[in-house]
């Protein structure tokens, strides 16, 4: 049997014999106990460390909590205030642009490089390490200095442009028209993490599929579309869902580059940056908590849509 037809057999779920079906049913009846046993550490973590603080933030979102004084119950005031908060709307706009542009660019680059690096070639380990390097530096203080060094008024970009005879004096990090784009670039530049995950995923694809496909005379493009894409789809899906969640919560890089202000002119005011400002700089943790729950609702919606759409393109072998 050729590998490709074997694959399509997997994909379309071949007929299941009655014995197999019975085995599965038998398994299902046993799974309740085993399931909760395996899940036990996670459940302990959820109930001891995670759920309490999350529910606390839900309660605090209904109060005027200042961090320093005990909270007073307000009802839905904080949520009402969000309707007329222009800076909140600005932060949503900035964040949506960041998610909408940054995530696809970063993922496409990560996937492309991972596929390229997955092939046997000289210096593979070196390239992989070098491409991952920016992700290691990603959140250090040095990044803010570096970004200014590159995109500042007298930065590297302008120096190069001036060498080319252009009159370049724009400070890209400090100009409202460009600042957000430098941060999107910074995000794309740290494509190492999704790349590593793609690489790990590619390594799980059995080589024999490709060997068989090559013998069948399938082109590289056809191999990519018919073997790599479907078998990698759970991992692509994972990266997509998680990078969207991460991008909505983008904080550190924007914080260090703008020194926490979200400037210039709020052009890099990411949602969590504004949330942090409300909570820790203005001592309005009640409002910050309400903002957190709005963000949760937005991210949950995106994630739910992702899961619904996954039915059409993500291929699981179970």
């Amino acid at each position: 049997m050729s590998a490709l037809s074997e694959l399509s057999h997997l994909k379309h779920r071949g007929p299941v014999t009655p014995e197999q079906r019975a085995a599965r049913r038998k398994e299902a009846s046993h799974d309740n106990k085993a399931g909760y046993l395996f899940l036990l550490p996670w459940l302990v973590g959820l109930f001891v460390f995670t759920l309490g603080p999350i529910l606390a933030s839900l309660y605090l979102s209904l109060t005027d909590y200042s961090l320093i004084q005990a909270p007073n119950f307000l009802g839905l005031d904080n949520y009402e205030r969000m309707l007329t908060d222009d800076r909140l709307h600005q932060s949503l706009k900035v964040t949506l642009i960041y998610v909408g542009v940054g995530v696809p660019l970063q993922l496409a680059l990560a996937l492309g490089v991972a596929v390229l690096l997955n092939k046997g070639m000289r210096g593979l380990a070196f390239y992989r390490s070098v491409f991952y390097l920016p992700s290691m530096l990603g959140s250090s203080v040095a990044i803010a200095l570096l970004w200014r060094q590159i995109f500042g008024t007298t930065g590297l970009v302008n120096q190069v442009l001036q060498l080319l005879g252009l009159d370049a004096t724009t400070g890209y990090v400090s100009d409202p028209d460009y600042a957000l784009w430098t941060l999107i670039l910074l995000n794309v530049w740290t494509f190492g993490s999704p790349m590593v995950i793609f690489l790990a995923g590619l390594r799980q694809i059995p080589t024999m599929y490709y060997e068989a496909a090559a013998l069948d005379g399938a082109s590289r493009i056809s191999q990519f579309a018919r073997i790599t894409m479907p078998l990698l789809s759970p991992i692509i899906f994972f990266n997509l869902v998680l990078q969207i969640i991460n991008a909505f919560q983008a904080f550190t890089q924007a914080f260090v580059v703008s020194n926490g202000t979200g400037g210039p002119s709020d052009s890099t005011l990411f949602y969590t940056l504004y949330l942090y400002e409300q909570g820790f700089t203005r001592f309005d943790m009640g409002y910050a908590s309400a903002m957190a729950w709005l963000l949760l609702a937005i991210i949950a919606t995106f994630t739910a849509v992702n899961f619904l759409l996954a039915k059409f393109w993500v291929f699981y072998d179970d």
Binding site: D31, G120, V196, A214, I235, F251
Partner: protein, 290 residues
């Protein structure tokens, strides 16, 4: 370093292939330069006196100023190796914790059918959607009540109970990509879940486990906010908190020492990645997978 060749098999070498390979390497090297520029800049900065760092343009060094390293190593209340050891303790705890607890939970979500699975899975995803800044205060109050402030426990203990949902989800996706026939064969042999998990899936999940270990290492190693909040005594500082001690935005900072020690603290991260990536290439691809 030898690499197992996955992907398609290399065609016989022709001049055209050589040319293509040359172009590919040229492109990769050009991109590598973009990637490596910040590291070069940091290394160069660590070899310049603090007063020169932000005034000397480019990457050219007229002289090597290595004093930053000696000075930075001994400038804080402990020699710098003390903080490296602190970080190493936290990181090893976190890695062990994440590997065990996240893989157990992932097996349950990916392979077992039990009541409430969908709901728990949704709750798990929800826990990564809430911004850390609103839960840090309740969490601090919690750990303070447990009398764990100023110990490494708040940084490590949660990892043993799979609070890093990112890795649970990651492993779920990997397990679901492993052909089910493999564990069904084991079921028919009469193996229990622990054996399927330990003997069938774990070996197949090595790329996912390696990814988890690498990411846990790098993220924990460079995490600043959590240690900042929980580790108040300088003797407990991890590397990122110690690095900030060189800086003060309102007066003068010892940038030279900061860069020098940043480079020092990058070395373990880089070694961890180099070592860990070897395991990225194991798995079905090399174990045959039938």
């Amino acid at each position: 370093m030898t690499e197992t060749i996955a992907g398609e098999i290399d065609a016989p070498r022709t001049p055209a292939d050589h040319l293509r390979s040359l172009v590919k390497h040229a492109v990769l090297i050009a991109v590598s330069l973009l990637m490596i520029y910040p590291l070069l800049w940091m290394i160069v900065s660590s070899l310049r006196p603090t007063e020169v760092i932000f005034r000397a343009p480019g990457l050219w060094l007229n002289q090597l100023y290595v004093d930053n390293y000696a000075e930075g190593w001994f400038a804080l209340s402990q020699a710098f190796d003390w903080y490296l050891v602190n970080s190493a303790i936290v990181v090893s705890g976190a890695i062990i914790g994440n590997l065990i607890s996240c893989s157990l939970a992932a097996y349950a979500f990916a392979r077992l059918k039990f009541r409430g699975r969908g709901l728990w899975f949704a709750i798990m995803l929800m826990t990564i959607m809430i911004p850390i800044h609103v839960i840090v205060v309740p969490q601090y109050i919690l750990f303070n009540a447990f009398d764990m402030v100023n110990t490494f426990l708040p940084l490590v203990l949660p990892k043993f109970v799979a609070t890093d949902a990112f890795f649970v989800f990651l492993m779920v996706q990997f397990i679901r990509g492993i052909p089910r026939e493999l564990d069904e064969a084991a079921t028919i042999d009469g193996a229990g879940h622990l054996r399927i998990f330990g003997q069938v899936l774990i070996p197949l999940m090595i790329p996912a486990l390696a990814t988890t270990a690498i990411f846990t290492f790098i993220w924990t190693w460079s995490d600043f906010f959590t240690p900042l909040i929980y580790l108040t005594s300088p003797d407990m500082y991890t590397v990122p908190v110690a690095l900030r001690s060189f800086l003060d935005a309102t007066s003068g900072s010892n940038w030279g020492a900061m860069f020098a020690m940043s480079i020092v603290s990058l070395i373990p991260m880089f070694l961890a990645f180099l070592f860990g990536q070897k395991f990225l290439v194991k798995g079905i691809a090399t174990t045959g997978g039938k």
